[in-house]
Subunit: 282 residues, 6 copies
């Protein structure tokens, strides 16, 4: 199969993300466009200024589609590909007014989403050959969750649940409400037989209970590597084992070497180093 | 005057920011709420885990207002105040289901906006006593511009133009379209007599032209400190002098000591170190 | 735990469903309200005219909340409870104009959603004591999917995936694109490790492949009861077995007696016998 | 005149109906599309599996227009035409991903709206040659009123008022508020001289009053056929006579034979037998 | 009956009108509110500076409801009542910031809608005692049609059709498409039996045809008063007679004295003399 | 530079203005379109019936773009150009149904916005050769502010602040809250260094204070021409001088001759004489 890289969220989501960003920037209207001749045309290239992983093409394209369908964008890299300093990422061609009006909005998407993809790629590379899968969390930039979840996939990570609706994670409050892990899991399974059912545990004893309750996944919260190794020895291959809690780029490889199946960290999406892109006018 | 700290954008903006973030997280509905007794109540405190500047109260409040008007939030700090590790920032009280359903969305706003406020405060403190004003830019997280611009004010910075509509910045493309700085400024002034009119210049010669054109502000792009000093000597007090371009926390004090009036940097808003907040259940 | 019946979709969804229905009915404005005295009040009861299962309280409440917050509604039954002919379901009390303006919209939700709940209950009762779980499908009334999925839960059924986003069902087109069931499942699992992964199969041979591929669920499409029994003998307890395709109220018990875990049918939601409710003015 | 069949509601309404349905099904994004080669194409036919009347082409077309403008749809039947089992209704041609992603949403509109058109056609045929006109009511599926009203026209019925805004129906509550039918009608006529003004009556005496009040239409609520005949004898040709209340496919012909002008029944739109359509991949 | 003056369009319409107007004025946020103490309160009165008819209370109230629920408004006049210079129309009381932020938006609604009501009242008074009813048209301020239609009712006029959906007006193009007035009217009546059916005629001959076609109303376009008298003599009481076309405040009484039933004029709503209101701070 | 007349607000704003206007007129659907053959085509010209200045082309175009992309519009005049009675303004060509359905909505924009442009042009011509710039205010038709602000530019006027967000006007309430003009201006400047800062003054003494406070603009409210002359003598060239308050077409030239820089008047936008346009079918 070809061209089968990660898929952006639906066209509707991208359209709405962009509509909102243009609205912020244009507000009642662009006051400088009129300084440019209405019939002038521009050709420009977007240049990446640092090592990065590209993400956000659909949002960049949509920005210009909404501003002026006469702008054409030709890409030299796919989302998910590695960029080097001074790489020309795409060529933008069309009416000068439209290109200048959309410049900031289009670049803001690219710098933000490539930032998330790049950070994810670092985690993915850190655990290379360990078999561990890097997962994101729900700690995301408000309003950009779907876009960031896509950027995580561009970086080589996988997505944990998108929100409160597509998987069930039984936590401490749910366990104490139900009386036991078994009761909480039983109730959740009865309500939503089709959703992934995970349990967040803080001790090996809770891990045993979670396994016995029939959960598909355990989230080992803030386990030391020793305790992770113990968990792996007991349950590897019998239940999905996910390490989580305060994992950073420094610690992630050690965690992965314990043999856990998944490592989830909010660091992929809650913080951000924007990638430096700019437009070079020809 | 009392309670006169920075004002969040209009209630409508906060409402829409929150609506969108809840939509992302709830999608077709929260599947775990049902594991909690419908009549159970919770009391919890939001704890800050690091040194930070608080920003985002209005978004946090609105999150719970939209989910369940029965949740009450009592704040112990104002936006713009400094937080220390382990400070309890607010008390959240009400139906357990609602508090747990809104936890992640509410905290995501707090961690993001306090992150921007905290980063801004570092810049503001770095230039303390120099008289320089720290300005943000339009390099923001898509969809969060107004929220971030508010966070910048909480951090002690000031806002540059919000978008393309509330000030005019004459750049290279506009100058070459009009034929000269004078022509571009004249045209812009004629079109929009009420908007701040700035010119981005790259040389001292262009600076002279910008001053003569009657612009109110010059944006000295990537000027060395020597050239900034020269610019200050020529024009201090006669036109607003703004340094910009690649300014970081390391270099900002040196730039400020040149005597420029304003320093603008995308670093305030395009990158982000999320502040670590969590809920402690009582 | 108390009051822990099925939960409606988020308040936001109910609000939007109702906003849209009111918009249809009010359009530019209610022309008859003015025939009623502005200060007149009414008390009325909603009466059910047939055997049914109640569903839709949140939409009924929201209709009046949007029209006039002064209308109060007191319910005598919970969603999911059985109604008999002439049961008074709730009391509606308040300004006469508002009650009359909202009557049709509020009842339309009740008659539609109770219709879906009632039909589901018939299926659930038909398979009582067989252990089979009744699932809905994506064959729903456009714009009412979340509401109908909730009504299915009120009727005692469970929800299959909500849409294309919260579970993966590998079908014939995907298999031929990937080359084999194993390849399609492997690719899907790699992309979305957290989602339920099912395979639609049409032969016992495909069932064997689906089991070996590591899928969690097989959808046995249009299997005869003999073949369903064979499937159960081979795989009961090792993979989720779901019968589907043309199942009706007549055939559902026979299907359930084969021992399958799940039975899914579009009949729950695509067709509808509206429950007869009316308002009796006191 | 050609191509002058019933017209769907405005493009805006169709667009919004479809946007909402796609949103339900896609939510944060289609997870299975990626299993199909990005460049693969499909050709498929929509097959009708039973006797039916077609309705919903505009919604089907719009579904694919919103998902991917590269999908083309060629229709072999017009809305309002009769379909036989195994008729190919249209050909759908284009990118495989888009066709599969939109399949369920597009078919859901077709099965729902054709269901309403088919039911309407049965009523219309039952009263053939009696001169009676079949009218719908405001008992519709929430959110689909305009679409269903269109389907009624496709089935050969006519539309009663769309909502509370485009005709006035004076009911019992209005009469008692105004003091008499004459007073209520007089007031309504004064307020809205341009709207159809009908009165719902329950006795022949009220019918006399309604006629004398100058109303244009009377709605004879739950009249026996004997009383309908009496009403026709008194007023045929002098005021519009509409029978209503509990009319079913069984009773409708007897009602029509009384000579009434209009017969309205909620059964057209509140209940639904979805028409069975499916896609056959070539 | 009490308080039974004209009813504003639905709460939803008023809410949306106001949301949009506030959005225009606030955009990214009110920059001057912060100059007022957060806890300061104001009491103010809205003063009318000229003879006028009041309209727009619901929009004024909603403006403050959206900005700050703590603002209270007490009205001294009803919509539809006559105002004299220096009349205090209402008292506005509450947080100073909110009152000042909403001042312009709230007054803009009042000045616009009262302008339309006042102009309408002049027409209504000009035809007093002639029995002619003053009707508006679809020539309205874009986005304000429902609000203006309401203002017309406040001024004592009646509403012609709201839009293309609630009455049918057969015009020249329709007649030539159908072949004759009779054919056009027959077709329209068959399609929409419940809508008012009018025909626009330009000659007495066309008037005869319109009457024979069974239309309910004729729109006598640009008829001289002599021809209007002729039309009245032929058809008064047998079909609704409406004069239209270039009617002004000067000519309207002469037109009314011909005996026509209705007079419609775009002048009520397409042009506007804003009524002068201002806030007097106490 | 060519084609560099005033720019309409962003495409998004025009789209939303038009969407709303079409919604008002179409509501649930155009009931007369079906009287026209589906395949008929029309050619028509928009004729101006009086002396006017054209404004609103983008809204006219967008109306037809939203209704049917097959309608083409060819303009014979630019926005801002002067029209004479009987000038053909544009040619509209395409499907007859679409042209007739959109006629009223498209013309309503043209008549309203050209009305504002024409009124503005009268003011601009009245002050010709005085150097005074005519400014609008925030007294606009609710929902049409951006469109009207554009029309003002078409008429040759300039825009004062769009709303509360793009300039600061210090008024009496702000001054008394801050204690003095100096304090209020100082605080405002500190909060928003980039926005135009004006002060509304009522006496020459306040004018002196405003000048000393560092404000960029003073709004001389209801000054007599004598006092305006005094203000000009004191401060011309040192601070922007704006006359405002009750200025009409009669008085504006006298005001301009005092030498003030700006004259602002609500009369441009709050009242309206709609320009008479109609479609002539060929």
């Amino acid at each position: 199969m070809k061209n089968n890289g990660p898929l952006p969220p639906s066209a509707m989501t991208v359209r709405e993300d962009v509509r909102r960003a243009i609205q912020e920037d244009f507000g009642p209207g662009d006051c400088t466009a009129q300084l440019i001749d209405a019939e002038a045309r521009l050709e420009t290239r977007v240049i990446c200024r640092e090592d990065a992983v590209l993400a956000g093409r659909a949002w960049f394209d949509e920005t210009y589609a909404q501003i002026d369908a006469g702008v054409s964008v030709e890409w030299f890299f796919d989302d998910g590909e590695r960029l080097r300093p001074d790489d020309a990422v795409c060529r933008v061609d069309g009416p000068a007014r439209a290109i200048l009006s959309g410049e900031r909005t289009a670049l803001n998407f690219l710098q933000t989403l490539s930032g998330t993809a790049t950070r994810t790629r670092r985690y993915v590379e850190a655990v290379a050959d360990t078999g561990a899968i890097i997962l994101d969390t729900r700690k995301t930039l408000p309003g950009l969750r779907l876009a960031q979840k896509y950027a995580v996939r561009c970086g080589g990570g996988s997505n944990h649940r998108i929100g409160l609706f597509d998987a069930i994670l039984v936590k401490e409050n749910h366990i104490s409400a139900a009386g036991s892990i078994r009761a909480a899991v039983g109730r959740a399974r009865g309500l939503y037989p089709d959703l992934l059912l995970g349990v967040e545990v803080e001790t090996l004893d809770q891990l045993d209970q979670a396994f016995e309750s029939g959960a598909q996944r355990v989230l080992l919260d803030n386990f030391s590597t020793d305790r992770l190794i113990e968990a792996v020895q007991r349950y590897k291959g019998r239940i999905g084992l996910e390490a989580s809690g305060g994992i950073t780029l420094k610690s992630v490889r050690d965690v992965a070497l314990t043999g856990v199946d998944f490592i989830s960290t909010g660091d992929l999406t809650k913080s951000l180093h924007a990638v430096d892109f700019s437009m070079r006018f020809m």
